[in-house]
Symmetry: C2
Subunit: 773 residues, 2 copies
């Protein structure tokens, strides 16, 4: 990653490309482009060298390549569905061929990456080593398992648990890796709290043994109560998760009222205080490391932008600047498909005084500027107005349009939705009600048609009109499903799946009420904004679940069987395993919670994540495996509930706070201001409230009265809107937060210092349990 | 609260005392004292006026008065233990007389408060109105209930639910009031999220009705599954609390694997996302309002200190200052019992250049300075050294002392504790083991004696030596209990209670291991630091529990009865209520979870707070009250789990972060620096590691070699240590955080502006769902 600014010419170009980290595309690309642009300008390198390098770079990062690699990762992970114990069994030969294919693809990608990276850098990166080791291990496992299978010896496919390595270690999964890194960094701190917590559980276990063990009490099931220290420790651990409260207390409480004090003390100390401390430690570390990494990125970015500036700068008057021509060439190299009005807009923002050059401060913002999606919209009249202006502008038509734009129109439809909700809740067997369904559907379709009549269709379905899309899609889906269902039913064929889908779609229509209530829409918008963050988290959960599911399947497959509920043989009552006779597991009919295939395993793990009754599940599998299973379940609880769920909560809290405190970033505000100044902006709210066209007219007349301004004329007919705002991630927000704190003159610490930044450098006053000792 | 700085003389003194808020004692007292001091100095008011006013103020705030009022509050609250349904029944006459006594006391306190407060201020304060209304209502209720009881009609003692009003509204409970205010402020924001959440639950209920209602599935108990919309909504609400997971899913999951998707979606959206959003909203609001209030206090304090400065200032050279004589008089009025070395130390810190006067910036810190507990310790030699110096300094004695101070000594005792733990876990019936108990006890006592021999006893049991106290108390308690137990057992009288206490004390001894492990000690110290905050929270929980317990007792008393576990009549099986036949409540032996007295009610509410199985409890009481009870249980869940537990978590998170980021405040550091400069400080760590005496010697010799410094000599033989550090609250930390941000020149906004500060003024960029609409 070392970028030497001393070298120049073709070597520098090559080097700067070789050291590209695909994930940090923009600044690196800009820096490389700066070399290229400079070379083109000075003509001391052949013109051809550079564009090829850029093509190489683009090819590696092309979306088809990324999609392909994700496709192979998906195939590789989903192989577990087809391998023994399988949901859809396939012969070993088929799955192993598929796996080898995936491995080849991963290897190919790795080789490609190695080609665009200097050897040194490639081999120093643990990610690449990880992938290669995993490929080798998987091949070894395949060969051993295959040859043993050939002589009919059944062994364990242990390498399957390694498959998520591919998901984590390909450069595209930076977010998941960062979360893992955050977990790893949190471990030392959490370890001591955990040890203290376990010490407290043991002390309480000892007390329970002494207090209750000699009383010869019985549990509800008639078993001896609190007589074995290990059993007690497990029960008390379960109590921390609250899963066996208050059952674990009842025998002692029934014996004497005072014993409840023991349990209350235990719950306050271990459930409430220790669990909150876990959250506090995880959250604190998460925040610390997140900010550390973001600051590191911000400094790196700044360094690269300064380097690019230094390459291109020329002296004008007293200060160094980049000329307009150089700036345009650079932008075009980086974004070959940028439209010229867009480029003009960016230049106008960067070159505020229209002096024909861009100063250092504005140049440093270029990467951010290029990142902001500015959508150029060509405002047109309503198509109907073009086709039949007289009819569209007739008084009846205008009345309809005014009506649709009125508040009462919205309220009427809100009432219709509520009535619809009541009809859905009623019994649909009556013909009156099933016919009403068609009425509601047609009302909704009329609503959409009226709206399309009133508003310009392309504006109505603009890229950012999330709620319009949502509205329309729900109605269309309901229409399609209802029609399909009616067709099938008239043919006397009753498909359960389709009926279920129709039902769900019919009810989802009620979600339209959210669109009408402003505050609800705000909450949902905030939730959608933090959606990408939650999705990253989904990747993390997938990885952990997958590993545990594979281990669980190898360990517990076939121990517990599910029988049809109507099947009441004694065997079905104990899930096909006599060891479960009389257990809570069998009594609660949990037989389907087993590890007999990947889907079932995932559902069991989900139930364990929700925590409730996990001791019943653990107890059931403990019975069929002679208690060994408890270790599996406890370790799952520690990893998922204590670590991952807490990180998830930290995630959401932080995302909410950042979303609260940073509404618009500095750069975007600058662009918006410029757009407004140039009179070519479109307000989001205006679009939604349907005042778009009126507004456009006003703007148009404004333009026509101001013909003197030549530059302004060039932009006429084009309107810009910032599109990225809603789908921004917490990362980007935080990064901009830090960047605004770095002054333009500040070149940051040296590269080595940046790369070795530790959280304690940012928070010198922020001791944790780990380092204040 | 308006303090006019225009008036002066006796009127001003009186007024400033009348407007005192006892809780904001220090700055107000200082301001009043400034008037007094000024008056004394100028001799234009009789000397007598002012000290009497100060005595009046001290009398109202005297600790005996505060203890008395808390005593009456406790009596009033605990009356519920003796009233029907009673734990210890007392006749109505006795409890009502006690209640009237308490009310009289409250009224008396209120009258006292009215006497030291101007009428206007008194009547504008809602707290006082609340107390008066509650007193009147309670009296009315007492009279009605008493007269109805006299004619044998049993009515409801509804006023009992109002008793916590006294706990909240007396000026001493500022923290609890603030938390309630914080909850009230959070309500609008949380309401909309809650409505959206309920909307989501309803949509899912409707789906469940349509998807599962027609399948005629059965639950484990054989009841129809998901057929009634209200029943479904309740079950799904319970699923949000995870209490019925995965049972509620099992019938549908057993029917078809795909239905698990419905439940997974539900859990992700409602349990994980919505519950985290609740936490985020509560936390965000908590933080916002906390900081707002703290900032308000900081500004108010600053204003008052500036006013006091303006009263006392004289012009010296170009700047206004307070003379040393005035400053000393002021400090002595505020703290009559301050020792002269302490006063000297404070003056030395305030008057850095020793110019004979205190400048404005240093004067403004006076309130903080006076608040910091500086403990003067008179360092003495070990008493044994005085009594028999030759023996104590002999080589054998020195060897013992070196041995005790060595690390290995600690390790040996750690091993002894571990061995002890193993012995405790073993069966104590064997004589070998019960004799070993005496061995361990004597080993521990020898340890303490050795330590007292080595370290100076008064230093070892210093005010801040928490861990030494902890160690010694545990050993002494264990010794006393074991001896008592042996005495009783030898007399063939076996008391269960004493045996239990002995057992617990014997096991608590193992906690000494924490003292040896540095990291554990750090974690525990942090927890102890946030202890006061957690206690405030305990008050809040007490209030809410009390109100719900009284309502619960009135509504559910006598519905469910507990029978001895050995009693197996059919009536005992259904908790004495036939409506419970076959219910999960009876099956799980929950009969003792009832509302038949205050203690039982509190335990039930605690179980409901822990959440698990709350639907079984709710279901049981719903059966005996025709479903009405569910409302009670749901509202308890919303209030306690969604609001209060989240505030608790916010509490702990914030306390942890503040404790992490603010190790020492600015003012304390200044004092410490001065103490160090003057060479009269004692390091905390030195005290603990037992190097105290060596260190003292070094200091002493240092002093003797530096006789020339006169001032320094005055402090000789006295050592100071800051004592407040460990038991500081989050409040104080935050306040100092904000104060350090206010520059000395900044007089803050005007008084009206301060009092009307709203969170949005502090965070202009911090929109919430509530105000960004």
């Amino acid at each position: 990653m070392e970028l030497s600014s001393a070298t120049s010419g073709p070597e520098a170009i090559k080097q700067s490309f070789y050291t590209l980290k695909p994930s940090e595309k923009d600044e690196d690309l800009l820096l490389a482009a700066a070399y290229v642009s400079d070379a083109q300008y000075n003509r001391n390198v052949p013109f051809e060298t550079s564009p090829r390098a850029i093509r190489l770079y683009y090819f590696y990062n092309h979306w088809t390549m990324q999609v392909a690699i994700y496709f192979f990762i998906c195939v590789d992970l989903s192989l577990a569905l087809f391998e023994e114990p399988a949901l859809f069994p396939l012969p070993f030969l088929a799955t192993s061929i598929a796996e080898v294919l995936c491995l080849t693809a991963f290897f190919g990608r790795l080789v490609h990456f190695a080609k665009v990276t200097p050897q040194m850098v490639f081999w120093k990166d643990t990610k690449n080593i990880c992938i290669m080791v995993t490929i080798v291990l998987t091949l070894i496992d395949l060969i051993i398992y295959g040859s043993l299978e050939a002589v009919n010896i059944h062994s364990i496919r242990w390498s399957r648990a390694l498959r998520p390595v591919f998901l984590i270690n390909f450069p595209e999964s930076r977010q998941i890796r960062r979360t893992f890194r955050s977990i790893r960094n949190t471990l030392p701190d959490i370890l001591y709290v955990f040890l203290l917590f376990m010490f407290s559980v043991l002390i309480f276990s000892l007390m329970a043994l002494k207090l209750f063990g000699v009383r010869s009490l019985k549990t509800v099931e008639g078993l001896p109560y609190f007589t074995d220290i290990l059993e007690i420790a497990f029960e008390l651990y379960v109590l921390v998760t609250t899963a066996n409260s208050p059952d674990v207390m009842m025998p002692a409480y029934n014996f004497s009222r005072w014993y409840s004090l023991y349990f209350i003390t235990y719950i306050i100390i271990n459930t409430y205080i220790f669990m909150s401390v876990f959250l506090a430690v995880v959250y604190n570390n998460y925040r610390k490391h997140l900010k550390n990494e973001i600051l590191k990125l911000a400094y790196l970015k700044r360094r690269k932008m300064i380097e690019a500036f230094n390459i291109l700068k020329v002296k004008v008057g007293t200060e160094f600047v980049v000329t307009e021509a150089q700036w345009k060439r650079l932008a075009k190299i980086v974004m070959p498909h940028i439209s010229s009005p867009h480029l003009e807009l960016l230049l106008r923002i960067s070159d505020e005084g229209q002096k024909g050059h861009v100063d250092k401060m504005n140049f440093l913002r270029l990467a951010d500027l290029l990142n902001i999606q500015v959508v150029a919209i060509n405002i047109k009249r309503h198509p109907l107005e073009d086709w039949m202006p007289r009819v569209y502008q007739s008084s009846a038509s205008l009345l309809v349009q005014r009506m649709v734009r009125h508040r009462i129109f919205v309220w009427v439809y809100d009432v219709i939705i509520l009535v619809n909700a009541i009809f859905i809740a009623l019994d649909e067997k009556k013909p009156f009600i099933s016919n009403a369904e068609w009425l509601f559907l047609s009302l909704y379709i009329i609503e959409i048609l009226l709206k399309l009549y009133t508003y310009e269709p392309r504006a109505y379905f603009g890229r950012k009109q999330f709620w319009n899309w949502f509205d329309t899609l729900i109605i269309i889906a309901a229409l399609v499903a209802t029609v399909a269902n009616a067709t099938i039913q008239s043919g006397n064929y009753n498909s359960q799946q389709i009926l279920d889908i129709v039902l769900i779609l019919r009810i989802l229509r009620l979600l339209r009420i959210i669109v009408s209530i402003q505050r609800f829409r705000l909450i949902v918008t905030t939730l959608i904004n933090i959606g990408p963050t939650i999705l990253t988290f989904g990747g993390l959960v997938l990885v952990v679940y997958y590993v545990f599911a594979i281990i669980g399947m190898e360990a517990f497959q076939g121990k517990v069987w599910f029988f049809d509920p109507n099947f009441t043989t004694p065997e079905a009552q104990v899930c096909g395993n006599p060891a479960l006779t009389g257990s809570a597991f069998a009594r609660d009919h949990y037989c389907k919670n087993n590890f007999n295939d990947l889907a079932s395993s995932f559902i069991v793990l989900m139930e364990l994540t929700v925590v409730n009754q996990w001791h019943v599940l653990a107890g059931g599998f403990a019975l069929v495996t002679h208690q060994a299973a408890k270790l599996y379940f406890i370790s799952f609880h520690i990893v998922v509930v204590i670590l991952i769920v807490n990180i998830f909560i930290a995630f959401i809290l932080e995302a909410f706070f950042v979303a609260y405190s940073l509404e618009k970033s500095e750069v975007e505000t600058a662009i918006e201001k410029k757009i407004q100044e140039l009179g070519v902006g479109v307000q989001e709210e205006e679009m939604q409230d349907g005042k778009l066209i009126d507004n456009m007219d006003a703007k148009d007349s404004g333009f026509s009265g101001d013909d003197g301004d030549n530059k302004r004329k060039a932009l006429k007919g084009l309107y810009f809107r910032i599109a990225s705002k809603k789908y921004r991630t917490v990362d980007a927000l935080l990064q901009q937060m830090f960047e605004s704190e770095i002054t333009p003159e500040d070149e940051g610490p040296s590269l080595d210092e940046i790369l070795n930044l530790s959280p304690s450098d940012i928070y010198p006053k922020n001791p944790s349990f780990g380092n204040s000792a």
